[in-house]
C-alpha cells in the first residue's frame, strides 16, 4: 500500500535523473563545499588512481620485473605474483568487460611458467614467459608509435 501510494503520488518518488546526476542532488540537498559534496569526487579520484595502478603501466612494469626476477632466481612465487598482477591489465587490454582478444590469456602463460618452474622445468618456464614479454614490448612500441 505504501509503495503504491508513493508511486501514485509522483512527487514522493525521485526520478532517475535526480538519482543519477550528482550535480542536481548536491545542488538541492547539500551545499557545494560540504564534506558530503566533496566525498564523491575524492572517491572517484581514488578509484581512478587504483585503476591506473592496477590496469596501467605500473602494474605492467612490476609484473615484468617480478617475472624476470622469478625466472632468473628460479623462484616460482614471484611468477605467481606477476601472473596475479597481469590479470587486470590483460583483461583491460582485451576489451573490458567483454573479452575480444587472446591477450586475455597472457596471465595463463605466466601461471604456466610458474607451474613449470615449480616442477623444475626451467627452459619451459622461459619459453612460456617469452610471449608475455613480446606482448609487453609490442605494447610499448605501439605506444611509442603514437595514435597515427
Amino acid at each position: 500500500m505504501l509503495l503504491r501510494a508513493q508511486s501514485k503520488g509522483g512527487a514522493a518518488t525521485p526520478k532517475y535523473e535526480e538519482i543519477a546526476s550528482p550535480a542536481s542532488t548536491s545542488a538541492k540537498s547539500t551545499p557545494p563545499l560540504s564534506a558530503k559534496g566533496l566525498q564523491r569526487p575524492v572517491n572517484k579520484t581514488m578509484l581512478d588512481f587504483l585503476l591506473s595502478l592496477l590496469a596501467g603501466w605500473p602494474a605492467i612494469l612490476v609484473a615484468v620485473i617480478l617475472s624476470i626476477y622469478g625466472l632468473v632466481k628460479n623462484n616460482y612465487r614471484y611468477l605467481v605474483g606477476a601472473a596475479i598482477l597481469a590479470v587486470p591489465f590483460s583483461w583491460f587490454l582485451s576489451g573490458f568487460p567483454v573479452v575480444r582478444s587472446p591477450i586475455f590469456l597472457t596471465p595463463v602463460l605466466i601461471f604456466g611458467s610458474a607451474w613449470a618452474m615449480r616442477y623444475g622445468r626451467e627452459m619451459l618456464a622461459w619459453l612460456l614467459a617469452i610471449p608475455f614479454f613480446l606482448v609487453v614490448l609490442l605494447l610499448l612500441f605501439a605506444l611509442g608509435a603514437g595514435p597515427s
Partner: protein
C-alpha cells in the same frame, strides 16, 4: 588483425629486442640454451633484414653468431660469448637508428 599483431611481434623490433635481452640474461646467468632460444627469436628479424638490397642478404647470418655465443658459453668462454653477441647488437642499433632518423 591478429595476424598483423603477430607479424609485428615476430618480425619487428619487439622480437629483436627481446632476443638481445634474453642473450644478455643467458650470458650473465651462464645458460647457453637461453642464448639458443634468443637466436631462434632473432631469425625472423634477420630474415626480414636480409631482404634489403643494400645488405646483400648478409643479415641472415646474424643468428649464427648467437649460436656461436651459445657454444662459447657452453665451453665456459664468456669473453667469446660477449664478442659473438656484438654483431646482433650492432645490427639492431643500426636499424633502430636508421628508423629513428628517417621517420
Amino acid at each position: 588483425m591478429l595476424a598483423d599483431i603477430l607479424i609485428m611481434m615476430i618480425f619487428g623490433f619487439p622480437a629483436a629486442i627481446l632476443s638481445l635481452l634474453l642473450s644478455v640474461i643467458g650470458v650473465l646467468t651462464q645458460k647457453f640454451w637461453l642464448v639458443l632460444i634468443a637466436a631462434v627469436i632473432f631469425i625472423p628479424f634477420s630474415y626480414y633484414l636480409s631482404g634489403s638490397p643494400s645488405l646483400a642478404g648478409l643479415p641472415i647470418l646474424l643468428p649464427a653468431f648467437q649460436v656461436g655465443a651459445a657454444v662459447a658459453l657452453r665451453e665456459k668462454n664468456k669473453l667469446w660469448a660477449w664478442l659473438l653477441l656484438v654483431p646482433a647488437f650492432f645490427a639492431v642499433l643500426w636499424v633502430g637508428s636508421r628508423v629513428l632518423l628517417y621517420t
